[in-house]
């Protein structure tokens, strides 16, 4: 194989890496997105566990709106996992956990008269969602930085 051919393959690989990094940059979740999702999901647990459950419909509409606006801003959705079964299982586990917290909050409020638990439950779930969103964003930033370093090394 000639040097020219090798250079051609090197250029091809470098262009591919640049494109991958550009795609991740475009799809990088915005900071406000994680905060908004955390507030809404935390609010859902708090309202569902309290006497204000009739307001949860507005929060579900809000959740849909936030996702739609974010998607319109980025124009891309990052691949969460290449293993679909694992991704769905993880999502189901998280939903189950949130439902369990909602049930505990409802029980403690209705049966034990602990009216502060919706706030605590909502706050806890909101904090978990925010941490998950933050770590996901940081994971993407690390991948982008690694890709950029690799591109610079190749150049």
């Amino acid at each position: 194989m000639t040097n020219e051919e090798i250079d051609h393959y090197k250029d091809a690989l470098s262009e591919a890496k640049k494109s991958e990094a550009a795609a991740l940059k475009a799809a990088l979740p915005k900071k406000w997105f994680g905060i908004a999702i955390a507030l809404i999901v935390g609010g859902l647990v708090a309202t569902n566990g309290s006497e204000y459950f009739q307001y949860s419909g507005y929060l579900i509409v809000g959740l849909g709106l936030v996702i739609a606006i974010h998607h319109q801003q980025t124009g891309a959705t990052p691949l969460l996992t290449t293993n679909k079964k694992m991704g769905i299982s993880a999502l189901l586990l998280i939903i189950l956990f949130f439902l369990l917290i909602t049930a505990v909050v409802r029980y403690t409020t209705a049966q034990l008269g602990m009216t502060w638990t919706p706030l605590l439950g909502g706050g806890l779930v909101g904090a978990i969602v925010y941490m998950l969103a933050k770590s996901e964003r940081e994971k993407y930033i690390t991948i982008i930085k690694e890709a950029e370093l690799e591109i610079n090394d190749d150049a």
Partner: protein
Amino acid sequence: MLDPIIHAPNRLQICAFLAPLEMAEFQLLRDHLNVSDSVLSKHLSKLEGEGYLKQHKHKVGTRQRTSLSLTSKGRKAFKSHIKTLEEIISNR
């Protein structure tokens, strides 16, 4: 073995751009490649014909939008193509 369908410069960039994504909008990819709609459409049709890519047309308000994603066959082919490229370069 290098995949001739993927190896064309624009198509390699299309696959590389879509590989880390669940989906991307047509406009975003067009702006990244800096090509015209027709040029991009031609490459997308080629990849779609090979079963490497899916195009999903949908309406946002009155506008027609197209979302693009790699199929699992496309992801495998791209991964294998990149691996081959890396092997060629490292075995130099």
